[in-house]
Symmetry: C3
Subunit: 211 residues, 3 copies
Amino acid sequence: MLTLDANLQLALDLVGIFAFALTGGLVAVKKRLDLFGVLVLASAAALGGGVLRDLLIGVTPPVGISDWRLLGAAVVAGLTTFLFHPGVARISKVVLVLDAAGLATFAIGGSLKALGAGVDPLAAVVIGGITAVGGGMLRDVLAGQVPEVLRREMYALPALFGSALIVAAHHYDVISTAAIWACVGLVFIIRIAAVILDVHAPKPLRTGDLT
Amino acid sequence: MLTLDANLQLALDLVGIFAFALTGGLVAVKKRLDLFGVLVLASAAALGGGVLRDLLIGVTPPVGISDWRLLGAAVVAGLTTFLFHPGVARISKVVLVLDAAGLATFAIGGSLKALGAGVDPLAAVVIGGITAVGGGMLRDVLAGQVPEVLRREMYALPALFGSALIVAAHHYDVISTAAIWACVGLVFIIRIAAVILDVHAPKPLRTGDLT
Amino acid sequence: MLTLDANLQLALDLVGIFAFALTGGLVAVKKRLDLFGVLVLASAAALGGGVLRDLLIGVTPPVGISDWRLLGAAVVAGLTTFLFHPGVARISKVVLVLDAAGLATFAIGGSLKALGAGVDPLAAVVIGGITAVGGGMLRDVLAGQVPEVLRREMYALPALFGSALIVAAHHYDVISTAAIWACVGLVFIIRIAAVILDVHAPKPLRTGDLT
């Protein structure tokens, strides 16, 4: 069992929530939803991964709907997107960077919380990955589009890699605040590199009509 | 902690379940699903919000899949829609009124059950809102359409308002059967007024291509 | 309360997981997803039903994300689909048979696990049905298509029937390994017969424009 500094867990959560809420708000604006739709989609994107994580480890009610700081961060980011969305869209590269930061903090933070709840290493890795991509999946399903994570393989893989790394660090008892932030940084760098280099996973062989 | 009269909780649940099951059945009929599809979509719309509520407060198995009265109400409403759907569609104003009643009872009932499970006030408000709109979201996602709640802001807002009101009443210890039904009535009236007056939340500024 | 032989529960799970993962992988290939998307959709189809089942009965973390044998079976089946999908598609009749086997083992296995967790008979039947169809629903929602279960009534009905049968057997204390496999076989045969005979449930009366 791992006892993590509460402030560190909160910091990991807040960065991810703010970044993902911006992406949720932008999708809502593109779909021409109104103010309320923007706030709902921003919250779903920002809090969905953490709520899923908490349900999977049996923490109820999930912290994403009971801690006003997390809910507040999502709402503020949603409101920001609603008011300033042409600007937010223009700085979409900034959003991409924030999104990579969110991916990294959610993956590491999700795995750490799962370990803290006493789950097995394998489950902790999977839960880290689900925490990182769950909110974006919920956002896309609600918005009626195929989840981006299914199309961008170098999105979930860095998250799973980071989760595996932090779970290994925990297993070999070399975990520390520095190790945590190093893992976060590594996931972030891999994700950004994948974006810049436009790395893709192989596609299946093209075939005739499969229908 | 709040101990609510079991009959009152059941009544709040049953009204909502019947109303939402009708809306689920109607969506299924429009999508040309067969009998079984109608029953599944009716049940998803009617029971989805309550199942989500119970998962979020850690009540397993959720009452929506273990109490035959709730499941039965959903199935009967689904069957009614299947058999009499041209009539049900013709009385779509009645369905709209029932739906508003379901929204109101689920929001208040969901918050009360969450308070009874000992969750914090903020979580109780959010869970009330999720109880009220969750079933409809599930219905729309399964039917392949963008959830209506994302497009109808004056749908979820009255639910959240009613949840906040009942949580406040609980906080100041002025809760009573009369107060509960007053909150239900208020949410119902606000929702009906929004439909009649065709109130909308602001939309984002129209901009150029955001894609 | 029911204590089921762990090997039997594992066998029931593994057959279903492998079969459903193949169907998930095939949908992903048709949608032109890359390797990672294939693996995610295969895992969602294979493990979604069991994860839902475990959340509904309060078992956290769900065994589908913590037991490497289950996760491994899903990944191997996904990889198989990715590498050999023209072959897998060509043998789509084999997949249909495997899918029927998965449906049968998941329905019976889901109900038995629910009974083992001490839930009421009605909930055990419903949970068996959800275990059997939940993964396929998740697969279709993620892939952006209306869940097949809503369109194929003779898919979920055999599952519910088998679940009801095994719950009744448990109620009358006549459960045994032989009874379990007999129920699995019966669901399998009914499902295959429905495919061969192309049985359909009634559709709603065709009406004018309901929109």
